[in-house]
Amino acid sequence: MPGKGPSLEDLIGIEHSKLGFFQELRQTIEALKDANTQSAQRRREIAAILDGITDIMMVLTSDLRILSVNHVFRQTFPDVPRPEGMFCHQIFRGEDVPCPGCPASASFAAGDICRETAIFKIGGKNVQFEMVASPINRPDAPDRHILVFKRDVSREKEYQAKFYQAEKMATIGMLATGVAHEVNNPLTAIFGFAEGLRRRLPALKEKVDPRVMEDVEDYVATILRECRRCQDIVTTLLTFSRQKTVSFSAVSLNAVVNDTLKLLRSHLKQRNQAKITVRVDLSENLPMVHGDEHQIKQVMLNLLVNAMDAITGPGRIIITTYQSSKGAVCLSVEDSGCGVPPENVDKLFEPFFTTKRSGKGIGIGLSTCMSIVKKHQGDITLKSTPGQGATFTVSLPVNPEKTT
């Protein structure tokens, strides 16, 4: 109920017209302009934040189609100008089906953040990515999206592998040095007394039954021989474990093969499965290579252990040294084991790539081998037919170029 009734002027209503929405529209347009400016500003800020992220970022639909990517993605794949709408696995693996162990699918299924590390071949180079997939929850939309970060961790992995290896070697070295010294003392005593016995043998000759004497001489010779072998093993152990800076000198690959086999002989014998025969085919006049003997032994040891691990049941390992047609000195280890499936061939030398079950290895052996051989300006190649064994060949240059 109005406080006071209208007046005649009110009825004429000179100042009142039919109200349109113009004023309101104008205000709304102003408000929208403001909101637009603000959201553009916010967009720029967010874009700046996103540009500061150096990981590959993708937003995927639930069927793994790419919705949007960041600038790092575009730098990584310069030859994919329009990734939007393509499948993620098309770009990263060239496959038509999702990769096994895909974190995006797992994240979508679990509705939670999933992490995964995998190796991709990008631009002809293996890159290890640590991937984090997290679902983007949009309460008002029926379909969910997944945000995937891919960080290139190749270098970290490489360093990590080197660190593990160094630590492992240091531990073995410490143990071996300890053992070597502990064994060396009694060994020295045994060797000394056996030597004493050998010197006294002529004096005993007249007083003892010749047949008994023959046995004694044989025993003493055996003791001495076995002692020497023990000393050899200890020395070899010490050379493996010596904590010393890398020093390059002339190295004989044949000697390396023999030393390594000495170390592994008992290991080979102990295999409780069927027997593995080891055939050694060493080239007679093999040139020396310029390298670090201790490190080359590590490579040899690794290759041999891998060959043994690849064989289940009876099998054979053939170790060959030769000089290739190009003049490089080569060492190849051939086994009759399970072989390497083709999709793993180029990932084999990546740090932390392993096909051994957990607890048996962490996948740093071959990557260490590769980095050692590369340091010697050499190369490791692999020929393998799955199910029919594999041949790893290390080739080292005879005259490496002097590197500064």
């Binding site: 109005p2 209208p6 009110d10 209503g13 000179i14 017209s17």
Partner: protein
């Protein structure tokens, strides 16, 4: 002369113009309209015809017909809720004064919120209304032309007058063919309503040359066409009646009315009588009451009704009023208040309520509640 103002909607007039309803609605942005009408029109088949037009033009609609004559405040709120809930845009009202006033009320609430009684009086609507397109079917109330909206406040038992330029619809489509289905009673009550609009707005304090001309034209057309319209539903006569109603609407929307409508509103608020039936009773005494100050204008009306005479204005004015009384009596409508009211005890209340009506303000002769009571007693 006082500064005046003349505002009318876009008017589309002519036989068959009903077909433009949908295109007009689309022009003001319709996709889903609130279609307000009443059951009488549905019976006559016009609701189906209009829904057909909307359908053919690809418009959706929400039909609202919970309106009876003299729309109630709660019906308005109900309609506004439906409008909002159904996400309607344009309001289309088809019918007499009641559906059109209801549509105006709904639009007011939709645009301004609150309760409909908040807007009683003049120029209290501060925010725009949704676009409105009206199609009048009675040629009487002229709500499709006017800036008036009359809603019954059930609690207070009064008819509220809401006056605002925003209540003028965007488009008024007047199709005389729609009148063909009207009953005799409806033709009479609408014509008398329009006639009362014309007379009162012609006498009004705010009348201007622009409104006076329209008012006189309406008076002439109604006086000459009501008989043929009743006798043989002559389409020309019906068309002239809707022209008259439109002219009367233009006049009273801008000039206002007088105490006849003040009393009609308070009667309608208390007794829910048909608006058109009150005027044959009240108009002659109201004209007599105003004779003292408006003799020349009343003489002009007399000249139209009785033909030109060589006599004084005073006599002519009286002759016109007498002609009207005969005319109403011939139409066999109630001409005494006692015919429509139970007893005379309520007259004082009616008079007191009518004093506060906005229409009292523009009456040429100032009126107290006592003088209004006098008019009522004269009409008893």
């Amino acid at each position: 002369m006082r500064i005046s103002k003349f505002a009318i909607p876009e008017i589309i007039f002519g036989r068959g113009s009903i077909v433009h309803l949908a295109s007009c609605a689309k022009r003001v942005g319709a996709r889903r309209v609130l279609f307000v009408s009443d059951s009488g029109l549905a019976k006559a088949g016009w609701v189906d015809r209009i829904q057909e037009i909307l359908r053919d033009n690809g418009l959706e609609w929400v039909y609202f017909d919970a309106v009876n004559s003299n729309p109630r405040d709660h019906q308005i709120h109900e309609g506004a809720d439906i409008y909002v809930r159904e996400r309607a845009d344009v309001i289309i009202a088809v019918g007499g004064g009641s559906p059109m006033d209801a549509a105006k009320g709904i639009g007011t609430i939709v645009g301004n919120g609150g309760s409909i009684s908040d807007y009683e009086g003049a120029n209290r609507i501060m925010r725009p209304l949704p676009p409105m397109i009206f199609l009048p079917t009675t040629a009487g109330s002229s709500s499709d032309i006017s800036q008036f909206c009359i809603i019954t406040d059930v609690a207070r038992q009064v008819k509220m007058s809401i006056i605002s330029r925003s209540l003028v619809p965007n488009v008024s489509i007047i199709d005389p063919l729609v009148l063909l289905t009207k009953s005799e009673e409806l033709i009479i009550s609408s014509a008398v309503d329009a006639f009362a609009h014309a007379v009162e707005s012609y006498l009004s304090l705010l009348s201007s040359p622009f409104t006076e001309h329209q008012a006189l034209k309406a008076i002439r057309l109604i006086a000459h066409n009501i008989r043929p319209a009743l006798e043989n539903r002559s389409i020309e006569a019906l068309e002239n009646l809707s022209i008259a109603s439109t002219c009367a609407g233009m006049s009273f929307s801008n000039a206002g009315l007088g105490i006849g409508h003040s009393l009609a509103h308070s009667l309608g608020g208390m007794f829910d009588v048909l608006h058109g039936l009150v005027h044959p009773i009240l108009l002659p005494p109201v004209m007599r009451f105003n004779l003292a100050v408006s003799v020349d204008k009343l003489a002009n009306i007399g000249r139209i009704l009785c033909g030109p005479r060589m006599c004084s204005n005073e006599y002519l004015a009286q002759a016109g009023i007498a002609w009207l009384e005969h005319f109403f009596a011939d139409l066999r409508v109630p001409v005494r208040l006692r015919d429509i009211l139970p007893d005379s005890s309520c007259l004082e209340t009616i008079a007191k309520a009518a004093v506060n009506d906005a229409c009292t303000l523009t009456n040429p002769r100032p009126a107290s509640w006592e003088s209004l009571l006098g008019v009522c007693q004269e009409a008893w």
